[in-house]
């Protein structure tokens, strides 16, 4: 009960602060005002929202593309050791936490990092590539962060597909690629939808990755909320951004589902 109450209080506080005015230099908020939401329409903030949505969408799609082969291999591996290896390698990052994973990507992507070190050692580049503080770098690391969950969701869906359906298709003369496209893929649609939406929501929630790898040049809503709260002590505006973010993700996810529903119906009707 206390937990539920605490949670409700916290969310109520965010909602309440979202409609209070910020008094510069004061921690205590002022009176009721919708100025926060008006402020948000400014190109600076609207841009962050658009960037966030784009990054979330790209991350979700890229994670899905990368996760599908892994999930398929995981479910279909015949050798139990290979199966365990794929499983452990794919899910270990999930248990490392965002900070360590992000840090590891900094070492990989940095100017003197692994990628640049390897490429210049191989003589492929003269100048180091700029990967840190770019959207590409943030995307790579975010995909790595969301990949394990998407793998798990897809694998759960694929493992529920009756193997006899694929056998039946093969016996009817369908080659493996055709079996995949006409049977396996459509029947894994529930997992695809779950993976996409979860990937999207997780990315939206990510903070350390865009903060450290984006380094201020790639900003997501989470970074804005944090800097407004802790650099400007503008909690009302931070709360308003959070609320807008919640609404936006809800809308985006509903849109996602609506778009994918026809596909899902094909799969499960």
């Amino acid at each position: 009960m206390l937990v539920a109450a605490g949670f409700v209080l916290a969310m109520a506080a965010v909602l309440q602060y979202a409609v209070l005015a910020h008094v510069p230099g004061e921690l205590e908020p002022g009176g009721f005002s919708l100025s926060n939401f008006r402020e948000m329409m400014k190109p600076l903030y609207a841009g962050v929202f658009l960037d966030t949505l784009r990054i979330c969408f790209l991350t979700a799609v890229l994670s899905l593309l990368a996760a599908y082969p892994l999930a398929l291999a995981l479910v279909r591996a015949k050798n139990p050791y290979l199966k365990s290896a794929i499983l452990i390698i794919s899910v270990t990052p999930l248990f490392l936490g965002e900070v360590i994973r992000t840090y590891a990507w900094i070492i990989v992507l940095g100017t003197r990092g692994f990628v640049n070190g390897a490429l210049s050692w191989a003589g492929l580049i003269q100048q180091p590539l700029q990967l840190m503080f770019t959207e590409t770098g943030v995307l790579i690391a975010l995909v790595h962060v969301t990949l394990p969950v998407v793998v798990i969701m897809l694998a759960a869906a694929i493992s529920h597909i009756d193997r006899d359906l694929e056998r039946a298709a093969a016996a009817l003369g369908a080659r493996p690629l055709r079996v995949f496209l006409t049977v396996t893929l459509p029947l894994s649609m529930p997992g695809i939808i779950a993976g996409l939406t979860t990937g999207f929501a997780w990315t939206f929630s990510a903070f350390a990755t865009p903060q450290l790898i984006g380094g201020g040049r790639v900003n997501m809503v989470s970074n804005l909320v944090y800097s407004l709260g802790f650099a400007s002590f503008n909690f009302p505006f931070a709360a308003a951004l959070s609320v807008a973010g919640l609404i936006l993700t809800a809308v985006a996810l509903a849109g996602f589902r609506a778009l994918l529903r026809p596909l899902n119906r094909v799969a499960t009707r």
Partner: protein, 265 residues
């Protein structure tokens, strides 16, 4: 043909997943004080430095405390709630359930911000209760889910049998339900503890210098220093996690826990 292409693709993707993990481990052994590739002279010094760095030590202890208390609370609360939701009908049941599962869908920074504001309002600024309660809210949905599954898998006839043998309901819960639920409770607890130990974003909002957890300490370190101490602690972390996962997989069947296996051949 398609099989070979597929295998190469899978190998490349596994490589992508492993790349940062391996790179961090390698970097941890480089003697130089700024990370650069290719690595040169081998050294253990960053491990010594990481282990003796006070913020990491404090963060580690704090994380252990928070994870232990928060996950225990979550399992106790979650156990009661899951049992009530599974077995009884009451008003507001659906509301309570969706309320407790809601944190799954809400970004951690939002929850952290909310907790911070509430803490400030009730004058509890960033102290232990706030940190722990925030963690309980965050891990509870996961505990609930794993407990639902175990509760659903208990054969209700077992409880009926115990009742028919004359055991009172309280005794049935103690002697039949709880033992049958034990693996689920243990699994839920472990999962909650791992999640709490790793939680970062919300903790960043609600922890202070004194209460900062290990991920927060690591984050601050990354922002301030570039030496491989962080790589060293990452390597330790990776080693520990992998060992735990391999053991969990051997004895508990990770695939079944995560639902990636169907149980059927």
């Amino acid at each position: 043909m398609i099989g070979i292409v597929f295998r190469m693709l899978v190998a490349m993707l596994l490589g992508f997943v492993l790349l940062p993990v391996v790179v961090a481990c390698v970097a941890a052994f480089d003697a130089r004080s700024v990370i650069a590739f290719p690595p040169q002279n081998f050294s253990w010094r960053w491990f010594q430095r990481a282990l003796s760095y006070e913020d990491f030590q404090i963060g580690f202890t704090n994380s252990l405390i928070v994870a232990a208390i928060a996950s225990t609370l979550a399992v106790v609360i979650g156990g009661g709630v899951a049992y009530a939701i599974d077995r009884y009908r009451f008003r507001g049941k659906a509301a309570l359930e969706s309320l407790l599962l809601a944190p799954l869908a809400i970004p951690h920074f939002t929850i952290g911000l909310g907790a911070l504001i509430v803490a400030a309002q009730i004058g509890q600024s960033r102290d232990w209760p706030v940190v722990i309660l925030t963690h309980v809210v965050l891990v509870l949905p996961f505990v609930l889910r794993s407990l639902y599954v175990s509760l659903k898998n208990i054969d209700p006839r077992l409880e009926a049998a115990a009742l028919s043998l004359g055991a009172r309901p309280g005794r049935v819960i103690l002697t039949v339900t709880l033992p049958a639920l034990a693996p689920g409770l243990a699994g839920g607890w472990l999962f909650a503890a791992i999640l709490s130990f790793n939680e970062f974003t919300a903790s960043l909002f609600v922890t202070a210098q004194r209460t900062q957890t290990l991920p927060v300490a690591m984050y601050n370190y990354v922002r301030e220093y570039a030496d491989p101490s962080m790589a060293a602690i990452s390597a330790l972390y990776i080693l520990l996690t992998t060992v735990v996962l391999v053991i969990a997989n051997r004895f508990l069947g990770l695939g079944r826990i995560l639902g990636t296996e169907d149980g059927r051949p």
